[in-house]
C-alpha cells in the first residue's frame, strides 16, 4: 500500500501549501476558495485513508467534510461577501516578506516538534503540524474578521487530518458530533459576521476598530 502513503503525503503537502498561500493572499474571495480547495484535499485524504485501513467510518467522515466544509461553509461565506461587498481584503501586521520569514520559522519549529510525536515518522505529520501553526499565524497576522473565521476553519482541517493520520480511531458518532459542531459553528460565525458588518459598517472589519474593551 505504498501508493496510499504517497497519496497521503501528497495531500498533506497540498494542505500545508494551501495554508501557506492563505497567509499571502490579499482578497477575501481567493481566501475562501483556497479554504474550499483545502477541504476537498482533506476529503480525498480521508477517502484514501479509509481504503487503506478498511474502516467505513472514515468514508462517512470524508463525506461529511465534503458536505459541511466543502459546500456549506463556502456558500455561507460567499453569500456574505457578496451581500456586504467585502471584496477587497484586510491588511496584515507584517509585510509579505516578513510574514514569509515567520512562516519559515514556524515550519522549522513544526519539524522539530513532530518527530517527538510519532515514532513511525510518517512524512505527513510534520507537514500537517506546519499547516496547523501557519493557520494560527494567519489569524494572528491578518486584521480582517473574515480571516479569523477562515483561520479557525483551516486550523480545524489540519487538526482533523493530522489526528486521523496519527490513528485516532474514528467512529461514526465521533465524526457526526465533529461535523455537527463545525456546521453549527459556521452558522453562528456567519451570523456574527453579518452583525459585525452591519454594526461596524466596514468591509474588512479591521480588528482595531473593535478594541474598546480595555481596563482603562
Amino acid at each position: 500500500m505504498i501508493f496510499g502513503i504517497q497519496i497521503l503525503a501528497l495531500c498533506a503537502g497540498l494542505v500545508f501549501l494551501l495554508s501557506l498561500v492563505m497567509n499571502l493572499v490579499r482578497k477575501n474571495t481567493t481566501l475562501i476558495s483556497l479554504y474550499l480547495v483545502q477541504s476537498l484535499t482533506v476529503a480525498v485524504a480521508l477517502v484514501m485513508l479509509s481504503s487503506t485501513e478498511q474502516s467505513p467510518s472514515l468514508l462517512y467522515a470524508a463525506l461529511l467534510t465534503l458536505g459541511v466544509k466543502g459546500i456549506m461553509a463556502p456558500t455561507f461565506l460567499f453569500r456574505l461577501i457578496r451581500k456586504y461587498t467585502a471584496h477587497f481584503s484586510a491588511a496584515s501586521y507584517l509585510s509579505t516578506p516578513l510574514s514569509l520569514i515567520v512562516l519559515a520559522a514556524i515550519t522549522a519549529f513544526a519539524y522539530s516538534v513532530a518527530p517527538a510525536l510519532t515514532g513511525s515518522g510518517a512524512a505527513a505529520v510534520p507537514l500537517l503540524f506546519a499547516a496547523i501553526f501557519s493557520a494560527s499565524f494567519l489569524m494572528v497576522n491578518r486584521r480582517g474578521a473574515l480571516s479569523a473565521v477562515i483561520g479557525v476553519l483551516a486550523l480545524e482541517n489540519g487538526i482533523v487530518l493530522l489526528s486521523t493520520i496519527l490513528g485516532a480511531a474514528h467512529t461514526f458518532a465521533l465524526e457526526f458530533t465533529i461535523g455537527f459542531d463545525i456546521a453549527v459553528w459556521i452558522a453562528i460565525a456567519s451570523a456574527f459576521l453579518t452583525m459585525l458588518y452591519r454594526e461596524f459598517g466596514m468591509t474588512d472589519t479591521d480588528m482595531r476598530m473593535m478594541s474598546h474593551l480595555t481596563e482603562e
Binding site: 516538534v113 489569524m139 494572528v140 497576522n141 478594541s211 474598546h212 481596563e215
Partner: protein, 680 residues
Amino acid sequence: MSTVLQYGFVVSLELYAFGALCSLLFSSRGREATASTFSHFFAACGALTGLVFALAVIFSGSVVDLHAGAIGLAQNVLTFHVDGLAAFFIATISTVALAASVYGIAYQKQFLGVYRLGHFGFFYNTFLAGMLAVIAADNGIMFLFAWEAMAVGSYFLVAFERHDSHAVSAGKLYILISQLGAAFLFAAFLLLFRATGSWDFDVLRAHAVILPAMLEHVILGLALIGFATKAGVIPLHIWLPEAHPAAPSHVSALMSGVMIKTAIFMMVRFFVEFFPGHASWGLVILVLGAVSALLGVLYALSEHDIKRLLAFHSVENIGIILLGLGAAIAFFAYGIPVAGYVALIAALYHTVNHALFKSLLFLSAGSVVHATGTRNMEEYGGLIKRMPWTAVFFLTGAVAISGLPPFNGFVSEWLTFQSLFTGIAALPLPAKSIFLLGAASLAFTGGLAAACFVKAFGATFLARPRSDVAVHAHESGWLMKLPMGFLAALTLLFGVGASFIAPAIGQVVLSLRGEGGAMPLVSPFAMINIRDFALLSMASVALVLIAAVLVTYIAIRVISRHSRTRIARTWDCGVSLTPRMEITATGFSRSIITIFRGLLRPSIQKTAEYHDASTRYFAKSRMVHLSMPNLYRTYLYDPAASLVERSALKTRRIQTGNLNIYLLYIFLTLAALLASALIS
C-alpha cells in the same frame, strides 16, 4: 468552683453569641433601641461570666482545656486552652468589656434613628467573642480564625458612622493594615506548620520539634511584624490614631484598652513560652518599645483631637509594656530567671493597668464628646463646672496614666524601671546599653505624659468655656457615670493594692515558666522586694500621702479660721479677659514640639490678607496653619502603595482589546510549553 471552671468560658461565648443574634433579630423587626440595649446587656453578662471564670482559673491555678467539634471543613479546630496567662488576659478583657457594655447602653442612644443599632450590636458581640477566642485558641487555625473575626468585627464598629467619610476611610485603613498583619501571621503559621507538621500549640509548648535556627528567626520575625501591626508599634501604628477615634467611645475604649493587648498576649506566648532563649529578639522588642513610648507621647502632645490624643497614648503605653516584655525575654535568654520573672510581672501589670485607665479615659472623653458633640479640644473649656463627675474620672485617669502615686500607673512603671535597672547592672555590655536606652526613654516618657495630660485636662475642663458648645454641655446620665466610677475605683485599687496584685500576677508568670522565685507577700503594707535593691509598699505611700493631706488641711482650717474669702474676677491687667486669652491645647504643647522639632518636623504656614495689596503694610487678617506631617505615610506607606499601584497599572495593559494580540498570547504559550517539554 469546678462548674465555673468547666462551663464558664463556653457560657460567656454563648452569651455573646446570644446577644449578637437577638440584636439582629430585634433590628430586623425594626426595634433598634431594644436591639441596642439587649445586645449591650448580654455583652455585659457575657463579660461578667468571663471575669468570674478567669478569676476562678487564676486563683485555682488550674488549666482548662476544651475540645468542641469542627467548623465546616477543618476537623477538630475548636480547641481551647486557658492557662494562668490566658485567664489573666480574659479577666482584663472582661472587666473592660463589662464597663464598656454598661456605658454603651446609654451612649448608643445618640445614634438612634441615624444608623442601624442592631447591626452594631451584632458586630460588637462578635468582636468581644473574637477577642476571647483569640486568647483561648489552642491551635493555629483557631487562632487565625478568631484573629480575623476580631479584625472584621471591629472594622464594622470603626466604620459604623458610615455617613462620615473620615470614619469610613479610617475603617478602610484599619482593615487593610490589620489584614496586612494577618498575611504576615498566615505566612509565619504556615512555615510553623511546615516545620512541626501540626497546627497544635501543644506541640510548640512541649518544644517537641527543634527548628533550624534560620527558620525559627524567620518565623519569629514574621510573627513579630504581624503582632506589632495589631499592637500599634511605631512604624506600623498609623491605623491606630485613625481607627480608635472614629469608633464610638466605648468601642475605642475596648480597642485601645484590650484589643491591642491580644497582640501582647500572643507575643508573650511566642517569645516566652514557645521559643524562649532568643536574647536578640528580646532586645529588638525592647528597642521597639523604647521608640514607641517616646514617639507615641510626642505625637500625642501635638494632637488637639481628644480621642486621637488618647489613641497615641495607647502607642506610648504599648511601648512601655514592650519595654517590660523585651527585658523579660532578654533575662530568660541570658539565664537570669529571677529578673525575667519581675520584668514579665511588670509587663503584665502595666497591661492590666493600661487597660483600666485607658478605657476610663476613653469613656470620660466619650461622655465629653457626647455632651459637646465635637472632638476638638480647642472648643472645650470650663467643663468641670458643668460635668463635675466626668472631670473627676478624667482626672483619675490622667493622674494614673502619668504614673503618679498612689495610682496604678506608678506601680507598673516602677516595676518596669526596676527590671531595666537590674538589666543595666547585670547584663553584658551591648544589652546594658539598650537597657539604658530603655530606662532613659521611660524616664522622659513619664514626664512628657504628665505634660500631655495636664494639657488635656486643663484645656478640656478648667477655666472658661471657649465655645457655646461647651457652655451648653451637661453631665451624662448615671448609666455612663457608673462604669466610669467602677473603672476609677479599680485604678485606685490596683495602685494601692499592689502588694496583693503583684504576687497574683507572679502566680500567672510562674504557671508560664516554672522557675523564677516568688514574691511571698502577706500584709498590704508588706514591701514588693526586688532582690532587696528596691522596696515599695504602695499602701504605706498612699497612707503617708493621705495623712499629710489631712494634716495640712486641718492645720490650714485651724490657722486661718478668721480669714474670709472673697470671689472676684481673675487678674486681667485692666483688659476684659475673654475666653480667647486662655491658653489653648495647641499653645500649651507648642514649646515641647519646638524643642523636639528635629523628630516631629512640625510645619507652619503663615498667610496674611492685606487692606491694600500693593503696599502690604496693614494686614486685615493673618492665618497661621500649624500641622504635623505623617512621616510614616509619606516615607513608608505611600511609596509602597504607589509601587504596587504602578505595577498594577502595567499589568492592566495585558488587556489591549485587540483580538489578534489575544490569539498571539495563546499561540505563544502553546509554543513555549511545547519547546520546554521537548527540550526536557
